[in-house]
């Protein structure tokens, strides 16, 4: 472009030049690398208290200066979503774009042109130079062509050949693919809706209600109004007790069409549920309730039913640690049928409570009235770590026994004969709608291919015939060793022509 006096154009050109500077781009990459690494040493996205506790001020300062105040000030608790991090990525993206525009693309166009040399001096600039006496440029040309080069011969006795143009195109593609990835990631960042839900078997939820948009720009997907019903949740165990796989049988229903089933699928980890723009992943599970049947003796049973009813009445906002028997109305209704009565007892998670390691769910079957002072009533504690077995503790907290759900084998606790019928699980689903994924996947695919292509070597060879002497020069951008050997082989194969060729006799002037 000719000189323009337009100040904007000048400023733009200067900006492009600054951005496309390679050392600066390297600095951006190093900056992102450094910040990313820092984020792996300082735990991210933890609670406020966590940092106050672990990075205190005063004598115990981590590294002598890293206190929670420093962390919050520098946004080190969420480096990957800090504004300076986004800025660095943005600068890198700008640098990529500027470099592609100002350097790579023009270089690529130049590489396709034939560039002939007219004097040996120019050859020396290109790279390693050799001279072969009594050799013909045409012989070299033929050899090169047989070796995969694209050869161009100028009548003045000058030759240019190249091989592996892909090796020159590759890097442009890499930059373009990277930009596509970053664009897709940005789109994801703005347009994603996601959420998670823990839904017990047999229950359902509205898809859209469990998803939150990441920004106001995110629009709900088509499927947001549908209802997801969990038909069943099961865990496959191996003989040694470890988990083989989690399975959730899900049905998607359309509430505006009489709950017509739109899709039904049993999902597992690595096999999500996809419909109408939303994807549901199996990510978690928990125990929701245990169904316990009481056999025989109805006097304690009636008392238990009464106690449970009054307990739940007096404690309507029940402590979650004490599961009140929602089966109490059931029991009262079942009433005098003494042979069998089933309680469906909701379970609560005790994970993280003092003295509890790992995941644990528990429920409580009260057998008496709450104490005068409001203390908890006498009752049976029922615990489970997974749907395979249920553990019973008596009113004094002593271990009584373990039962498998569905085995039908009763256990005697506090004078009652209990049979565990079923453990109701809940499936933890992650629901997501991410509009940027196609762009990101396209960028990924492009990046994978173009980085491989960039490995190829782009080799160039120039030759000049002066009299009976043949000057040859060449270079390669990647495989310099292999190119050296290849050039050696080519030059070795050029035959010596003792006769003077007509073309060699033409005047080879200095250009």
């Amino acid at each position: 472009m000719a000189l323009e006096n337009n100040a904007v154009k000048v400023a733009w050109r200067k900006l492009l030049k600054e951005l496309s500077s390679l050392p600066r781009a390297i600095a951006f990459m190093a900056l992102i690398a450094g910040l990313s690494g820092l984020g792996t040493f300082i735990p991210q996205n933890k609670s406020f208290d966590f940092y106050i506790e672990n990075y205190p001020e005063g004598a115990e300062q981590v590294l002598g200066f890293l206190t929670y105040k420093v962390i919050f000030l520098l946004q080190l608790d969420h480096i990957y979503s800090a504004d300076y991090f986004y800025l660095s990525i943005g600068l890198l993206a700008a640098s990529l774009a500027a470099c592609t525009y100002t350097r790579q693309w023009p270089a690529l166009k130049v590489a396709q042109r034939w560039r002939f040399v007219t004097e040996p001096r120019q050859l020396m600039k290109q790279g390693r130079t050799e001279v072969l006496p009594n050799a013909s440029i045409r012989d070299l040309g033929v050899l090169m062509r047989n070796n995969g080069y694209e050869v161009f011969l100028a009548p003045e006795g000058s030759l240019y050949g190249f091989k592996g143009l892909a090796g020159k195109v590759g890097p442009v593609g890499v930059h373009a693919a990277l930009l596509l990835c970053l664009f897709g990631t940005a789109w994801s960042g703005f347009g994603t809706l996601k959420g998670s839900v823990m839904c017990p078997e047999g229950q359902d939820f509205v898809v859209g209600s469990v998803m939150q948009p990441s920004t106001p720009l995110a629009s709900p997907p088509a499927s947001a109004s549908n209802v997801m019903h969990v038909n069943a949740f099961s865990i496959d165990y191996r003989p040694d007790g470890s988990v083989a796989q989690f399975y959730s049988d899900l049905s998607l229903l359309d509430p505006y069409d009489g709950n017509r089933e739109l899709m039904r699928k049993t999902i597992s980890v690595n096999d999500p549920f996809r419909y109408g723009g939303i994807t549901m992943y199996q990510t978690d599970w928990s125990l929701s309730a245990v169904t316990v049947r009481v056999l025989g003796n109805e006097a304690p049973l009636a008392k238990a039913a009464e106690a449970a009813a009054s307990f739940s009445a007096s404690n309507s906002d029940a402590d979650p640690g004490l599961a009140s028997s929602s089966g109490a109305p059931e029991a009262a209704a079942a009433g005098t049928d003494a042979s069998a009565t089933a309680f469906n007892l909701p379970m609560a998670s005790l994970e993280g409570k003092p003295g509890v390691s790992g995941r644990l769910w528990a429920t409580f079957l009260p057998l008496g009235e709450p104490g005068e002072d409001g203390s908890a009533p006498r009752g049976i504690s029922i615990l489970a770590r997974d749907p395979q077995s249920v553990v019973f503790y008596d009113a004094k907290g002593q271990f009584v026994g373990v039962r498998r759900p569905g085995s039908g084998k009763p256990i005697a606790v506090e004078g009652l004969q209990l049979v565990v019928e079923d453990v109701v699980g809940a499936t933890g689903l992650e629901i997501k709608n991410d509009p940027g994924v196609p762009a990101v996947y396209a960028g990924f695919g492009g990046l994978m291919v173009t980085t491989l292509v960039s490995y190829l070597s782009h080799s160039q060879v120039w030759a000049l015939q002066q009299g009976t002497n043949l000057f040859v020069s060449g270079r390669s951008n990647r495989d310099k060793l292999g190119f050296d050997r290849e050039l050696d082989g080519l030059l070795e194969a050029v035959p010596e022509r003792k006769d003077l060729l007509p073309s060699a006799q033409q005047p080879q002037g200095q250009a």
Binding site: E130, A135, N270, Y441, L481
Partner: protein
Amino acid sequence: MFAIQNLDELENFVRNFTFLALFFTTFVYWIYTAFFTSDSLPSIAPLVQDTSPPTADENEKLAIVNPLLQSSLAQGQGVGFAQVGSLQGSGQEGIKSQNSQTNLGAVLSPVGPQRGSLDIHIHPLKGTHYAPRICMIISNILLIILLIVRWEKSGHFPLSNLYESLMFLAWCCTFLYLVYSISFKLSTPHPLKGTHYAPKVEEKILGSLTASSALLMNAFATFSLPKEMQQATPLVPALQSNWLMMHVTVMIISYATLIIGSLLSILYLILTLSYNIRSDLKLPTSVEGKGLASSTTGNNLRLNNLISNPPVLSTVGGWGRGPLGSFLDLLSYRIIGLGFPFLTIGILSGAVWANEAWGSYWSWDPKETWALLTWLVFAIYLHTRLTKGWQGKKPAIIASLGFLVVWFCYLGVNLIGEGLHSYGFFS
């Protein structure tokens, strides 16, 4: 089949045998590299080209040169540059490439006090040149057998814990060596026509490096890891996917290539530091010290080539510009240049798998983050080579940093303890 019932015993046997094979391979390569180099010279000092049969002139010259060189070789003395320079101005160029081997032998001997391996002129028995490479092939095959036996035992692809991934990493190193050694063999013209194949010193260096790396990986996995961690356990649900094969395989391959490439850079730095400090020789002023470039004035071209292409332990432009230095530099560039696309594919296939498994293709998990860091460091390395003047030492420093980063990414992040990649590693 005897193996079906006794897979455990077979695995033990193969495991021990693999270790011994790698140990032996390393030993053989080290001995071979250290002592058997008199007839294997760096081949990248450009072979002087003359495609015509020797003219009478040239024959005459050869007659002068060769005895001189051969006698000096036999006596273990170097031919100084002054002596080579005296051949200049005798008219036509022309030392045939076929004899350039002996020719270069003289040029490559350092002036002054002999040092290093070029002292010893042991000529091994014909055919024993193949021994190191055969050892490497045997080690390679044994590692494959070990992995297959584990596959049979556990029923899933043998890459689910640290032990198996280390074995696979060792296999990748040996395989990488075999690939590069074959590509050397294919592209190098036979140095002396009609003689047996003699591996070049660069192939031996690469062999020593990869064999030792594979040995260390194998030894660490076999002897340092607790027995519980070596057992194959069934896969947790998250790993039950076909992506496991692709993602982990490609990542380990990329680690192997990047580790070997950066080891070459570290070797380059160590040698540069040693030789640049010790050497203090000066060359005649007619020499152009620009590495592989050469002057082009007419008939004296080839001789100037000879002079201006410095010998192995050259001080022209520093050791780093000499044939061996350039070789290490360029080979590490090439190997890292291969590892980088593999790393890209590995990271991206991991991201796609994560999206299929739990809906998020990037969650800044420590392992993911450090893989990205590795990617950035090596991207910086590849880009610094584009900057003028940044050949040799500066990129090598970045690659050396990359070596540490790769190891931290592979093993170190598991010490941090949290994250999605804490399957069966240290915690």
